[in-house]
């Protein structure tokens, strides 16, 4: 069990916890001290006394959640110490600033991957291989049906989808932080001349641009915009705007969603989008297997998603000491 007293990292109702350093990782409620792996809203909670994160995550958190949070930012790969426990952050390839956390106490090393991806992404540093004794790895897409196609292929599909629309606007829903920027960094302004982004996406874009990341040319979508001008164009919107009330104003509209879940037709059908594009900022099945093997960990814990199958598979096949962590409620 991860929660045996000897373990450096334990699972608590507030999230993963490093007792000797009195620090939580991505806590879901206010605590004294927290390390934040990345700037997605479900990994951040307001009201902590002190936050520690990568420099890029710091920029994003400030933009999203305000300037008055007490942030301490750390370069990737740089060691820092709390109560004698050594920490360092390493790129996890999920989104800009996303970090794995390496923790060393005495001769024992732990690694918490946070959300991770093994595919190339122009908007963030690539996943860094880190060796560890104990691994806590995400497993959002822990089934062998999840096999991501190359980013080029998906971008090509999106470009064709937009170009082939005769008279309607193509709305592509995507998370406003991470996915939207990854798409914008890959799309080609020459092939798609009319790209619009929602203001929530643009807000994040500003940080990326400041860091020198290049995007396809995109205009900010303004609600007062003449709708007829939007025909044949691509509009990126956050998924929260996928409701009939909002979409009604566009006369002719096609909707798509960019997410790893779109590889399953039933999920696509149920969500009501016309088209699904399977592009994910998480590791697919092979990515997870590779990550776990490369870590050379002697004990592995999986969290998020259906890790049970992946754990059972690797336990049988590789004789690995591995188990799924269920959320504590």
């Amino acid at each position: 069990m991860i929660n045996s007293k000897q373990n450096l990292i334990t699972q608590t109702i507030k999230g993963l916890y490093c007792e000797p350093a009195k620090i939580w990782i991505d806590p879901n409620r206010p605590v004294e001290k927290a390390i934040i792996t990345h700037a997605h809203a479900d990994h951040f909670t307001n009201g902590c006394r002190e936050y520690i994160c990568s420099i890029e995550t710091g920029l994003l958190l400030r933009k999203r959640f305000g300037n008055n949070i007490n942030l301490k930012t750390i370069d990737y790969d740089k060691k820092f110490s709390i109560n004698g426990i050594k920490f360092s952050l390493h790129p996890s390839g999920h989104i800009l600033g996303s970090s794995q956390i390496k923790i060393i106490a005495g001769s024992e090393t732990w690694l918490i991957t946070g959300d991770l991806k093994r595919q190339k992404d122009k908007t963030c540093k690539s996943y860094e291989k880190v060796k560890t004794d104990f691994l806590i790895c995400e497993s959002t897409f822990g089934l062998p049906i999840f096999n991501w196609e190359s980013t080029d292929k998906i971008i090509d599909d999106i470009t064709k989808w937009v170009s082939q629309s005769e008279d309607s606007i193509s709305i592509l829903f995507c998370y406003s932080l991470g996915k939207a920027q990854r798409l914008l960094s890959e799309l080609n302004s020459q092939k798609l001349t009319n790209i619009y982004v929602h203001k929530s996406i643009n807000k994040m874009n500003l940080i990326y641009k400041r860091l020198g990341i290049e995007f396809a040319e995109a205009k900010i979508y303004d609600t007062n915009l003449e709708i007829c001008n939007l025909n044949k164009s691509l509009l990126l919107l956050p998924p929260s705007l996928n409701n009939k009330n909002f979409l009604r104003k566009f006369k002719k509209v096609r909707t798509g969603f960019a997410s790893g879940w779109m590889s399953i037709r039933a999920l696509k059908k149920r969500s009501g989008f016309d088209k699904g594009f399977t592009i994910s900022d998480h590791a697919d099945w092979n990515g997870l297997v590779k990550t776990i093997k490369e870590s050379e960990a002697k004990r592995v814990f999986l969290y998020h998603g259906d890790g049970e199958s992946l754990a059972n598979f690797l336990r049988d096949k590789e004789d690995l000491n591995i188990k799924q962590l269920n959320e504590i409620k």
């Binding site: 089934l143 062998p144 049906i145 999840f146 096999n147 196609e149 190359s150 989808w161 096609r254 590889s263 399953i264 037709r265 039933a266 999920l267 059908k269 149920r270 009501g272 016309d274 088209k275 699904g276 099945w285 092979n286 259906d306 199958s309 059972n312 598979f313 049988d316």
Partner: protein
Amino acid sequence: MSLNKFSKLFEELDSNNSINKKVNSLTKYFKSNSNLNNIWTIYLLIGKRNKRFISGKSLREYYSDIYKMPLWLIETCYTKVGDSAEVISLLLQDKLPEKDIKEDISLDELINNILPNFFKLDENQKKSYIKLLWEKITKDNQLIFNKILTGTFRIGVSKGLVTKAISNMTGIDESIILHRLMGDFEPIEETYIFLINKKLEQRELAYKPYPFQLANTFDEKIKETTSIKQYHFESKWDGIRSQIIKRANNISIWTRGEELVNKTFPELIKIISDLKNDFVVDGEILIWDENKNMPEDFSLLQKRLGRKSPSIKIQNDLPIVFVAYDILEINGNDIRNKILSERRNILEEKFLNSISEDQTIASKKIKITKLLKMNSWEEVEESKNSARNINTEGLVIKNKNSKYLPGRKKGNWWKYKIDPMQLDGVLIYARPGSGKRADLYTDYSFAIWENNKLVKFANAYSGLNNEEIKELDKWIRKNTLERYGPVRSVKPELVFEISFDNIQISKRHKSGIALRFPRITKWRKDKNIMDADKLENAMRMIRS
């Protein structure tokens, strides 16, 4: 004419929710492809008796064997995805080379020549053959290929869409296309030429049943807005809706599911051939109790339907009748455009005229439904409520002035069904649905009290709306007691109103009762499990 093009069409249809766009895509496709390719496309899209070359389960087992992936893992994927062909095509993405430009295969070649080989092979040969085929097919075509293989082609392209597209393209009325699509369907070039032929010839449609007219659910407002005199009232028979066709001594009996059932009901064929006129009649096949002069329970008919060529003994033990209620054609003339009251006269005067002297044999097996005399809506209501006493489902109310039209035309036919029986049950098990409802707990089992134990009495899959399904899905995941494969047992806490059409003693079920068409009609959030019904209540329903 190819798997490639069909695969692209599928993708196009699958990624457009708008019906108009789907119709346009189809029309464009039909225009730019060969007749033979088009007829195979139609064959696959309308899913009419698509052949299954390999079952989904075997496909999963073969994959497990070939690629050394544990079967339990594939089964877990299957519960998530809900379709064997899709699971396999997703798993294969990783096994096939990235760049694969391969030869295209024509649909005709694939379905007529390549896939039928499976029927000649033993298990091991099948396995190597399927591997060979998988490696021959491009990644993009795997879903389509495996769907054809398992005969599970359903992509929400109904007959209606195909009909619209052909009608669009040819300018021929939809009802005629629909008629041409009825009955047997042979995927050959001639069939396509026949479908799009702009010349209309009655003779071409010989042996084809007409598209059935269907009834809408009765709207209580009709009682206030229209006069009772406008309508015919008939019993709503609980049997197999069928059309009997007699044209120049060729006789065929078609069910509404477009199955030819001549062999299942040989006793009817004999009698029909003795009738004097040619005709097409619409009616219902039932098992009949001569003594009580009313139909037997539907379950007996099901038993009879299970026998594809019934022995004389079965024919005697489970005697069927055909109850006619409409006539669509008489001696070669399509009379669907005549109004119902005129058609009824023709039915009464011409249908049962026998060649032989002895008309009693015919009238024992073939009847004309009685028109029920109703003087007021109160009487209609009463008659509907007492339907269960004579083993019918209620009433069908038909507009005397209506023509016979395909489908559910508002205002022509109404079904006025008896109120269902109901019991309040406790949710005890749930399993994920398939297809669109994969990975969502949508199939439920319910229990009622036997003394102080809960015993399962019904499975139900339908009746909740999407919001309720989502809410319940969340609740099930949080309140799981145990898992048995895909099935979860849950904390007995939620009560649902279960409606059903009939209830019977059953030795096969633990509770000792079997329900007909159980469905959920209400989530009783106001009730706790102690308020759920007792088995005694259910037993009392059977006796009454």
